[in-house]
């Protein structure tokens, strides 16, 4: 297991180096002088020269990359051009909001998607199956920005069950300890605040979770169908085990590897989709911040955001790979299949 872990982590090094080169290149691929672009057309020559110097743009490229990389490894991603705040600080402040949103969306997607997929496989060809398959196809085709707007229109503006935007009602705000609002409200012992935070979270999480929900229910269905045909499952039925036991203990466990892969990949989608969702619901997270940084041509911030998201995505996939090894000893022992 340790060897497997080591090999998987060693494989990440070239990928992450590549990510850093790509993020570094962002600034240099900008047509024209990046310092001028960031400060705007009307900036005077001295300010531009100062920024060039501050960002080290007057150094040779290898020197610049080396500085960028060593600073990044120490957690220093430079300062935002717009706010003059450290990029790492800005990201740390916003990361919990995005993480909370992504996890909530994933919980919805897995919590509904896996049971629906199992149900569809069990009732193959029936109306439940048809409904799940059709629903999931529409789900993957839905633009989440449209779905988000419809949810707002219907459930916020229309019946008024959910708030229009933000994470919590300002009147119910609690002191920030962890940045994770659901945790902070619990720490403060304020159930009314927790409930309000959940109400704020519901619609964005639902909008963001729709595509993963659809994808997960489809892969669960096909994976379970495949396992249902195997001999040992027939044996389990023949032993007279109940449907619940056969499905939960015998089938699902073996159907889990492809499902986990897809869940890992969907997490990347969630991080990307958060940019759109956060924009619709004015959710103060990393995605919205990244978009505003792109619009302001704040390249230091964009570099940092891009690297952080890629890092999280890569780490999530590593965790998924490790989970395989936990579930399936064959992967752990041969090692190369992952």
């Amino acid at each position: 297991m340790v060897g497997y872990l080591g090999r998987r982590i060693a494989l990440l090094v070239p990928t992450l180096l590549g990510v850093s080169v790509l993020a570094f290149s962002l600034i240099h691929l900008v047509p024209g002088d990046p310092a001028q672009v960031m400060l705007g057309e009307r900036a005077n020559a001295r300010a531009v020269a100062e920024l060039r110097h501050e960002m080290g743009l007057d150094q040779p490229l290898p020197v610049q990359y080396w500085r960028f990389l060593s600073a990044a490894l120490a957690g220093d991603l430079g300062r935002s051009i717009k706010t003059r705040e450290k990029v790492s600080v800005e990201m740390t402040q916003r990361f919990p909001a995005t993480f909370e949103l992504a996890v909530a969306a994933l919980l919805i997607a897995v919590g509904l998607g896996v049971p629906l997929g199992v149900l569809a496989a069990r009732r193959r060809g029936g109306w439940v199956d048809a409904a799940v398959m059709t629903g999931s196809l529409v789900g993957v085709s839905l633009p989440i920005f449209w779905l988000g707007l419809l949810l707002l229109l219907w459930l916020s503006v229309g019946v008024g069950w959910f708030p229009l935007s933000g994470r919590i009602d300002p009147g119910l705000a609690v002191p920030s300890v962890t940045g994770f609002l659901l945790v902070d409200t619990l720490l403060a012992g304020r159930l009314d605040s927790l409930f309000d935070a959940l109400r704020h979270l519901a619609l964005p999480a639902l909008a963001l979770g729709t595509i993963p929900l659809s994808v997960i229910s489809r892969i669960t269905r096909s994976s379970v169908l495949e396992v249902l045909q195997l001999d040992y499952v027939r044996t389990a039925w023949a032993k007279g085990l109940s449907e619940r036991v056969v499905l939960a203990k015998h089938v699902l466990k073996n159907a889990l590897v492809p499902i986990l892969t897809v869940i890992g990949l969907q997490f990347g989608y969630l991080l990307g989709g958060a940019i759109i969702t956060e924009t619709i619901f004015a959710w103060p997270g990393l995605g919205r911040w990244l978009l505003l940084s792109v619009q302001a041509r704040d390249f230091r911030a964009v570099q940092g955001g891009v690297m952080l998201v890629a890092l999280v995505f890569v780490v999530v996939n590593l965790v998924v790979d490790l989970l395989y090894a936990v579930i399936d000893p064959r992967i752990r022992l041969t090692g190369d299949e992952a």
Binding site: G18, L22, V138, S141, P143, I144, L150, I276, V306
Partner: protein, 280 residues
Amino acid sequence: MIRFAEWHPGLRKGLRHRGALVGLALIGVFLVMAATSPLVAPRDPLAQNLAQRLEAPSAEYPLGTDDFGRDILSRVLYGARISLRVGVVAVAISLFIGGTIGLVSGFYGGTLDLLVMRLMDVLLAFPAILLAIAVVAVLGPSLTNAMVAVGITGIPVYARLVRGVVLQVKSLEYVTAARALGAGDARLVLRAVLPNCVAPLLVQTSLGLATAVLDAAGLSFLGLGAQPPTPEWGAMLSQGRELILDAPWALTAPGLAILLSVLGFNLLGDGLRDALDPRA
């Protein structure tokens, strides 16, 4: 030509698949919309009429008007031209560049293959929409740059797909035999490799068109793609967001248009996969 015959019946089967047919019909509707929009659109999609801002749907304006008094029906019809073009151009970029990379990398193998595939891994380490946003951040927001950005995000998918087929085909006995008989690289690629790529690429292209249309609309929604007043569906929804209280009808048609066109490509791709995948 034996290979050709192998996928051809599959293709026929695919065209009898119910889902694929519905998908084709949907795509057909949008193609007709795109082709005929200048003829059938009741009004100029860009013409403003401030006296008739935010009109609810009526006989005069079947889908209502937006905040500049523009006819939403005409804008949605013209939008089909933009979205289909974006999808086709973006997928063409991914297919051509990714396909070439996969072909060369898989065919020649060795260090080149290793390096190229690590590079593809790096691209895959970014969620697609984030990579697209990064590209647009560099190039500047415009419809053309959005197409390029979405095209770039698809490159690793096609590269891996084609490389996989190449590796599989390379190990087939008849290919080894052909090589032993003196067939050159070009001949092997044309006669053995490419025909085997057709079926999986057909499926991937159809699904890729769905993703491309969706992602490009998302970029425009974020203000990073088509710019106002272009009648692009995502950009129309972005404007519609401000009108959610006053003119909810401005949200309906563009969203439905995106949904149905993307659904069409997804249905077609799914149907083709069912028909062409030997495991199915």
